[in-house]
């Protein structure tokens, strides 16, 4: 007889209680820890790219916030930049008006995005699929044009000038090399992922996956989809707002682009590229997308989207669950152990 005992389909000992199996499924995997350690590598390997690294961390955070609604609850959004932009302008304006403390600025920006997210969630929860795409798209355009026309407040197409950030904890100044920016962004990304991780492993997270898998069945087991959707949409808006605020604070400027359709579309591409519904998909997608953009636009600044387009088509055709989905399929036998 094997000393390993019998293994079920997921490679867990059959003797384990259901509770143990569930606990095992959500514990920290080695690969996860290695992944986070790898994110420290830019400090040593590419110290001249820390500004880019910080932008990647911010975009990754934005993508993780989209993943919570798209990947876990199945809410398709083409206007997620609305909350990113609100957070950016809130943090930027706050600093411009004389309160340059980064951490409180982050909290206030998150609150602003959250309030707008909560307000719009009442519309969002009533629709699905194509209608949802149109509504989120519309909300995004609305806000973009509002910011454009309120140029007295936002600086319009010229962007918001005069954003001056104070040092973090009064000690760490935002430097030209982006060292402080990357540390700051990475820490916030990590903390946000911790929260997101907890959410997706909670009973609430399970209900979200239920909505994604079969929204029509949910009422038949006594669930109220609307309340769940409003809640996760607000949480995702808060996280997107944090990402936007980080960008405003680390670059000390806010351009209209933070609210643009392009940003909403980019983050969707990033998430699908990396793999939706996998928590780390958004981060992987952001790294690949942003590095590719940096490299390709270095070769040819005008046509770099050609390559992104090619990459997207290839990924969707050959890796329908994104890069992480493809990797998971390749390493199915490792699953549970490493990932």
């Amino acid at each position: 007889m094997s000393t390993l005992g019998t293994l079920d389909a997921r490679g867990t000992p059959a003797a384990a209680t259901p509770q143990q199996v569930l606990a095992d499924g959500i514990r920290w995997k080695r690969l996860e820890i290695i992944f986070w350690l790898c994110l420290l590598l830019p400090f040593v390997l590419t110290p001249s790219y820390l500004s880019l690294a910080s932008q990647i961390a911010i975009t990754a955070l934005f993508a993780v916030s989209l993943d919570l609604i798209l990947g876990y609850a199945g809410i398709v959004s083409l206007g997620h930049a609305a909350y990113f932009g609100l957070g950016a302008y809130a943090a930027g304006l706050l600093a411009k008006w004389g309160w340059g403390e980064p951490l409180t600025g982050l909290v206030i920006a998150a609150a602003v995005a959250g309030v707008f997210g909560y307000a719009t969630s009442f519309i969002i929860s009533r629709f699905r699929h194509l209608a949802l795409i149109m509504i989120t798209l519309g909300l995004g355009l609305l806000l973009h044009e509002a910011a454009n026309s309120a140029s007295g407040l936002t600086g319009g197409a010229d962007g918001l000038q005069g954003v001056k950030m104070w040092p973090i904890f009064g000690a760490f100044k935002f430097d030209l090399f982006g060292t402080t920016a990357y540390v700051y962004s990475l820490v916030v990304l990590f903390l946000t992922v911790l929260v997101a991780r907890r959410i997706i492993h909670s009973p609430f997270g399970l209900s979200l996956r239920g909505i994604r898998e079969n929204a029509i069945r949910m009422p038949a087991i006594g669930a109220s989809n609307d309340a769940h959707i409003r809640k996760i949409y607000t949480i995702a808006a808060v996280m997107a707002g944090v990402a936007g605020a980080l960008l405003a604070q680390t670059t000390e400027t806010v351009s209209l682009e933070v609210l643009s359709f392009q940003r909403s579309a980019d983050v969707l591409v990033i998430l699908i590229l990396g793999g939706a519904g996998r928590l780390y998909g958004g981060i992987i997608g952001a790294i690949i997308y942003m590095v590719a953009r940096d490299q390709f636009s270095g070769i040819n600044p005008q046509y770099w989207y050609f390559w992104i387009g090619l990459l997207l088509v290839a990924v969707v055709m050959f890796l329908p669950n994104g890069i992480l989905g493809g990797l998971a399929r390749l390493t199915r036998s490792w699953r549970g152990k490493w990932w």
């Binding site: 259901p18 909670s202 009973p203 898998e213 069945r217 038949a220 769940h228």
Partner: protein, 267 residues
């Protein structure tokens, strides 16, 4: 067990003052000019095992949709115990203990069987609002979900994804999901649909093993199953109730024979 006297018909039930677990009064529904339910009066006593039979298009699934709130009736009432639930939405009715399964599997393909049942349990226990407490911390819900799966012999496959389960197991999971809501009344829409004949008896054995507190109404086409597992039978034709009675009464009813053998009332 259900006494014949208590359940012989609606009038008798009322006369005795017994409150049916689920009843309707003059329930009606039209789709345009098509009458899909007309003057439906049923009264299911607690613990009953009722079969709902009738030719295709008789309005059996429509009746379940009306009972569970997935369709709004044009007239009449639905009562759960002595409470009028006609205006409640489907999820509110589930919370009050009226739950259904579906003729076609409507499950959660990418959830494991355990996760799916756990989802239903945590919705009932109102754990689904917990977003900063881990799932494994809710041991009571997990134990309950596993017990339900185990009682339907799904224990060994509880960590498989739903889409990887055999078809018959998915049919059982449908029932497990319904049971996880702790129903008082369970409506089964062709629970054995698509299941090979040899296995469907097994499935109904599992159903008949459910708590005697639970009131069950099931739609089923296989008359052998119906006569074996139902204590009473309701026959529907053309959106109306043709008759109701014990299996013996139904088997000897000339009108029922005509509907099934003559095929005169199809539609």
């Amino acid at each position: 067990m259900v006494s014949d006297a208590a359940a012989s018909n609606v009038a008798a039930g009322k006369a005795q003052g017994a409150i049916a677990a689920l009843s309707t009064r003059a329930l009606a529904k039209n789709f345009g000019s098509l009458v899909v339910a007309s003057d439906i009066e049923i009264a299911l006593p607690q613990g009953a095992r009722y079969a709902l039979i009738g030719p295709n298009g008789a309005g059996k699934t429509t009746l379940i949709n009306l009972l569970t709130g997935m369709l709004r009736p044009d007239g009449g009432q639905v009562l759960l115990g002595d409470e009028d639930i006609t205006t409640l939405d489907p999820q509110a009715r589930v919370r009050k203990g009226l739950v259904r399964t579906f003729q076609i599997n409507t499950l959660f393909p990418q959830l494991t069987a355990l996760e799916a049942v756990l989802l239903a349990v945590s919705e009932r226990k109102r754990y689904s609002g917990h977003w900063l407490r881990k799932l494994p911390a809710h041991g009571d819900a997990i134990d309950e979900a596993y017990a339900i799966l185990d009682s339907l012999r799904l224990g060994p496959v509880c960590h498989r994804l739903t889409r990887e389960l055999a078809y018959g197991q998915q049919r059982l999971l449908e029932i497990a999901l319904a049971l996880a809501t702790k129903p008082r009344v369970l409506l089964l829409d062709e629970p054995a649909a698509g299941v090979p004949r040899t296995e469907s008896a097994e499935l109904f054995t599992a159903i008949s093993g459910l708590s005697q507190e639970l009131t069950v109404l099931f739609i089923e086409h296989d008359m052998n199953i119906v006569f074996r597992f139902a204590t009473r039978i309701i026959v529907m034709v053309g959106g109306r109730i043709l008759t109701e009675g014990t299996p013996q009464q139904i088997a000897n009813d000339a009108r029922v024979r005509e509907v099934y053998l003559g095929g005169a009332h199809r539609g």
